[in-house]
Amino acid sequence: MLPSPNLENVALLGQIAVKSSTAVLLAALGEIVAERSGVLNLGLEGMLLLGALAGFAAGTATGNPGVALCAAALAGTLAGLVHAFFTVGLGANQVLSGLALTFLGAGLTGVLGRDLLGAPGLVLAPVPIAVLAQIPVLGAALFTQPLPTYLALALAPLLWWTLGHTRLGLIIRACGENASAAHAAGVPVRLVRYGCTCFGGALAGLGGAFLSLSYTPGWKEGLSAGQGWIAIAMVVFALWDPLRALGGALLFGALIAAQFAMQTESANWAPVWILRAMPYLLPIVVLALIFPGSRRRRYIGPPADLGRFFHPEG
C-alpha cells in the first residue's frame, strides 16, 4: 500500500521529487539550448559522469562547494567543446560524436575515478531558504534543497525568457532553424553553436556534480544510470521549451518519489524490477503519445536545421 498520506510524508515525498528532478532538469535545459542552436548532443550521459567525477574530486581535494561546482561545469564545458569541434567544426555525424562522447565519459571517469571509489567526500546539504522553508509541504519541497536544485529551478524560466524574448535567444533560434539565413544576416553561426554546445555541457556537468555531491553522495561507476538519455527524451517531449522541460523533470522526480514510497512500504503490487524500469519505459510511452499531436501543431517541433552541418561557403 502507499504510505499513509500525512503531511509529513507528503512533504518528504515532495522534497524527494524536486530533488530527483535536478540532474535531469539541468541536463535537459542545457540540451535544449544546444538543440535550439542546431546541435544534437547525445553525449549527455558521458557529460554527467565527467561532471560528477570532476565535482567530487574537486570537492574532496578542496572542501569548497564553489570550486567543486566550477570544476564540474568546466569538465562539462570541455566535453561540449570536443563535441562541438567534431560536429560543428569537422562536420562529423552528430549522433556518432555524441555516442563517442558517452563512451569517453564512461571510460575516462572509470579510469580516473578508480581511486575515489567509495571514498567519502564533500556533501552539499540542503540549504533552507529563511522564511519560505517554514511553509507546510511546499517549504520542504521547494525551499529546502541543495544549491544546484535552486539553480535548476531558476534557470528554467530564465532560459525560457532568454530564448523567446531577447536578441541572444533570437540569434540562437535562428541558427537552429535556418543556419544559412542566419549566416546571411551576419550571425556567426558556428560560434553560436560552439557556445550553446559548451553551455549545454556545462549544465550537464553541474547536473552530474549534483549527483555525486548531493543526491547519492560519493563516486561510483555508472552513477548517472541513464539520466542523460532520459534528459534527451525529455527535451523532445518538452517540445524544446524550457518551461515544459521543468514540468517534465518534476514529473520524473515524482515518479522517483513514488518508486521510493512504494519500495519503503514493501508494496508487492508490482514486481520491483518493473518499478525500477519505469523511468526508462515511461519516456518512451510519453514520446509515443506526444508525437501524433505535435505534428498538428505546426510551429512546434524540432528546430528545422537540427543535426545538419553548416558550412559558410555553402
Partner: protein, 364 residues
C-alpha cells in the same frame, strides 16, 4: 606584397581513400588516447601496450578467445550496419542481445529431459531470433508510424532488458542448487551450441560469417535491399518511387534485432551455458564500433569484429595482469570513434598552399 595561405579545401574523395584514412586514423587516435588513458591509470605506457598485444595474440587460448568474441561482435555489428543503410540507428543491440538470450534460455529451461539436440538447439535459436526481433518491434513501429526517434527508444529499452534479466536470474529462474550465486542452472546439453572440431570455438562463428554474406546479398542484390538503401539516402525519393517506408523500417529493425538476439543466444548457448551476470558485457554497444570501422559494409564486419575482439581480449589481460580498470576499453572505443570521424574529415580535404598578390585578394 605576396601573401601565403594554407587552405583546406574540399575534394571528392574516392570511397577507398575514405575507408583507408578513416580506419587508419581511428587506429592512430586509439593509440594516442589509449596511451593517455594508460598513463592516467597509473600504468607504464609502452609496457601496457605490450601487455595488451601479448594478451591478445600471445597464446592459443587468447586466439580462440578472440574468435569467440568475434562471433557475437559480427552479429551485433551486422545489426547496427544493416540499420545504418536505412539511416536508422539501432543503439538497442544490447537489449536485443539480452532478450534473444532470455528467449533461448526459456526454451532451454523448459525443455523436457531427453530431447535431442537436433530439435532443441534449432528451437532455442529460433526463439532467440524471434525474441530479438520482437524486442525491436516496438521501437520499429514507433519510428515507422509515429516518427519517434529510434535512438531514444532502443537505448532506453536496453536498461529495461537488463533489469528484466537480473530479475529473472535473481528470482523466478534462479538455480535452487546455485549455492547463493545468482544465475540459472546450467542449460541442458540439448541446447548447447556444439564446438568446432574440438576447439573452444563454437558453431556460432561460421553462422555469423554466413550471415554477413547473407546481409550483403540482401542489401546489394535484392529489390528489398535496393529500396532500403534508397530510403536511407533519400526518404523523399523512396516515397516517390512508391517504397513503403513503414514496411522497410519495421523489417529492417526486426532483422537487426534478430541478429542481435542471435548473438545473445550464441553467448548463452555456446560459451556460458547459463544465464548469469556478465552475459551482455557491452557486446551490443561494441557492435556500433564494429559497424563503423567496417564502414557499414557487411563483408567487412567480420574483420572489424576480429579486431575489436582482439582489443577486448587484450584488455581483459590488462585487467587481470596489470589491474587496470575495465573502463580503459571504453576509452579505447571512444578513441576509435573519434579517430574515425577525424579520418573521414581528412579524407575529404586537401591541403593547398595558396600564393596571392595583395590587392585582388578575395580569399584573405
Amino acid at each position: 606584397m605576396i601573401s601565403l595561405r594554407l587552405a583546406i579545401e574540399s575534394r571528392d574523395s574516392s570511397p577507398l581513400m575514405r575507408a583507408v584514412l578513416s580506419v587508419l586514423l581511428a587506429l592512430v587516435a586509439a593509440g594516442f588516447l589509449g596511451s593517455l588513458a594508460f598513463a592516467l591509470a597509473g600504468g607504464e605506457v609502452s609496457a601496457t601496450w605490450r601487455a595488451l598485444i601479448k594478451g591478445a595474440l600471445g597464446s592459443g587460448y587468447s586466439l580462440s578467445e578472440i574468435l569467440l568474441k568475434a562471433a557475437p561482435l559480427t552479429l551485433t555489428g551486422l545489426a547496427v550496419a544493416l540499420c545504418r543503410h536505412l539511416n536508422l540507428w539501432n543503439i538497442g543491440a544490447e537489449g536485443q542481445f539480452v532478450f534473444g538470450a532470455l528467449s533461448a534460455c526459456a526454451v532451454g529451461l523448459s525443455m523436457p529431459p531427453g530431447w535431442p539436440a537436433y530439435l532443441g538447439l534449432p528451437l532455442a535459436l529460433a526463439a532467440a531470433i524471434a525474441g530479438g526481433a520482437a524486442y525491436s518491434l516496438g521501437p520499429a513501429l514507433l519510428k515507422a508510424r509515429l516518427g519517434v526517434s529510434e535512438i531514444l527508444s532502443t537505448l532506453l529499452l536496453n536498461y529495461v532488458a537488463l533489469l528484466f534479466m537480473e530479475h529473472l536470474y535473481f528470482g523466478p529462474w534462479r538455480d535452487p542448487l546455485g549455492m547463493g550465486f545468482p544465475g540459472t542452472a546450467e542449460l541442458p546439453q540439448a541446447v548447447w551450441l556444439p564446438a568446432l572440431f574440438g576447439s573452444r570455438v563454437h558453431w556460432g562463428l561460421p553462422l555469423a560469417l554466413g550471415l554477413s554474406g547473407a546481409v550483403w546479398l540482401l542489401l546489394a542484390r535484392t529489390r528489398w535491399g535496393f529500396s532500403a538503401r534508397v530510403l536511407g539516402l533519400s526518404p523523399q525519393a523512396a516515397a516517390y518511387a512508391g517504397f513503403s517506408s513503414v514496411s522497410l523500417t519495421v523489417t529492417a529493425m526486426c532483422l537487426s534485432g534478430a541478429l542481435a538476439g542471435l548473438a545473445g543466444a550464441g553467448e548463452l548457448l555456446g560459451v556460458q551455458h547459463r544465464l548469469q551476470d556478465g552475459l551482455a558485457s557491452g557486446l551490443g554497444f561494441t557492435g556500433i564500433i564494429v559497424a563503423f570501422l567496417a564502414r557499414q559494409n557487411p563483408l567487412a564486419v567480420p574483420l572489424a569484429a576480429l579486431f575489436l575482439g582482439g582489443l577486448l581480449v587484450g584488455a581483459d589481460q590488462l585487467q587481470t595482469e596489470l589491474r587496470l580498470p575495465g573502463a580503459v576499453i571504453a576509452t579505447l572505443q571512444a578513441a576509435l570513434l573519434f579517430g574515425f570521424m577525424l579520418g573521414e574529415f581528412l579524407a575529404g580535404k586537401r591541403l593547398r598552399l595558396k600564393i596571392s598578390a595583395s590587392g585582388n585578394d578575395h580569399a584573405s
